[in-house]
Amino acid sequence: MAEMWINMGPQHPMTHGLWNLRIKVDGETIIDAEPEVGYLHRGIEKLCESKTYTQIIPIADRLCYGASLSWSHLYCVTVEDLLGLEVPPRAEYIRVAALEMQRIASHLMWLAAYAADLGAMIGFIYSMRDREVFIDLLQALSGSRITYNFPRFGGVAHDIPPNFERDSLRACDYMEKRLKEYEDLYEGSKVFMLRNEGVGLLKKEDAMNLGVTGPSLRASGVRYDLRKDMPYSVYQELDFEPATHKDGDCYARFKVRMDEMYESCKIIRQAVTKMPKGKWRTLAPRNAPEGTGLGRVEDPRGEGVMYVVGDGTDRPYRLKIRSPIFVTVSAAPKMLIGYKIADVVAIMGGLDMCIGESDR
């Protein structure tokens, strides 16, 4: 076969969202690649300039459908930085518990898509089934399944529902049991290891230089987790260890995410048991002062940053969103070139694409 360009997307089962990967192949080997995003561009940054600060929380939810709580939380952190607002400790603990639940749900979503990409329908089914456990918990907490609209400036919207602590602990126990089963299912499978080990290598220097963050960075051997290294909520009071792996291939990215789910279970357990009594919300002023605010959190997909410029009114002058996936995708050609077409699904699936946040 001669060399040819193949468009994978925007409608393609590999993409999990709206983007286009143009690859140039020689037979089955990839010799050039070029991701193309923007099919889901909604102009959120412009939209936010015409909305009040409070109205933006639901929109921030819709940035990423896989981990929406993490984005509305990031927005609230950013505006709290602008307002100079203190958050009561109970609210912080509720947030941390909810965030880690969201992280597990998001990683399970990733696992489902990853398994389906590699051809194991059973992995898709199991992950989707267990994801419902955490979705139920978050639904009890906030009232909706995907877009929660839960954090507020200076706290959270509601207190926790009754029996939340018991249910969370149960869910963690269940999840840890299931995670062991997943490890048997995937790592016990020779085919899975054949498809993942040594595929999509990303060296440490390249990962840092190309701006890859989150689990993909930690899988390349850089131990950098904002929860640990620049703690933003009550993470410094909790005991956990960010998962790292030194290989930098698809298996390392898989392993890091699996380990992160264990760590998240640990964090949820500590957060719900240590949760102090008290207020869960403080009142925030309507108008923000002039100045800038910056929020950085560890999203399930990487480092999410928001930068807000206030001008003294009740609407932001400018809101800039840094999406981890947007930058990570630009590093994709580095990982893709030299591998086979079938490796595209393993490599791009291992990055955990979420186009909602990437296109904004």
Binding site: Q11, H12, R42, R62, I125, M128
Partner: protein, 178 residues
């Protein structure tokens, strides 16, 4: 006289079409087969594996064990040539619009469109954005609207049932179209 196989096929088409579509034979066949074909069509709805935004997640959940849309014969296929339903589950940006229209055109008749969620119905929270088409029905005919932001999986299954009812109500013969 050159009468090639192509001409023969064309002639066959014309004569058979004439006989079947206009004479009582066609309506007779339709009368017998209408119910059967309609039953088959409404009980085997394949939808396109095509995710846009939040509702795509709920679409995936609807085919997972808890909600299990497969028991009704609803299956996802990846290519538009083999599907009956296009589920538009998110805002359609101006960059996407030609691609989506093309996907719709590639689907074989009979086909239906489900607008899932506020974004597909009217643009939702992004209705006044510079890059979002306010509602997918601006360029594609929509049969079922599911409100919700995002619509829950139960709502999607309800939409499938409503679509089945709709297909049953608009019973049409294969040949005469009546």
């Amino acid at each position: 006289m050159a009468f090639r196989s192509k001409d023969f096929l064309k002639w066959c088409d014309e004569v058979l079409e004439g006989i079947l579509r206009k004479s009582p034979v066609g309506s007779g066949i339709d009368y017998v087969t209408k119910d059967f074909f309609n039953w088959a069509t409404r009980n085997s709805l394949y939808y396109l594996h095509f995710g846009i935004m939040c509702c795509a997640l709920e679409m995936a959940v609807a085919s997972a064990p808890r909600f299990d849309a497969q028991r009704m014969g609803v299956i996802a296929r990846s290519t538009p040539r083999q599907v009956d339903i296009l589920i538009v589950n998110g805002p359609v940006s101006k960059k996407l619009k030609p691609a989506l229209r093309r996907l719709y055109d590639q689907m074989p008749e009979p086909k239906w469109v489900i607008a899932m969620g506020e974004c597909a119905i009217s643009g939702g929270p992004f209705y006044n954005s510079y890059s979002v088409v306010p509602g997918v029905d601006q360029f594609i005919p929509v049969d079922i609207y599911i409100p919700g932001c995002p619509a829950r999986p139960e709502a999607l299954i309800d939409a499938f049932i409503k679509l089945q009812k709709m297909i049953k109500d608009n019973k049409k013969g294969l040949l005469t179209g009546k």
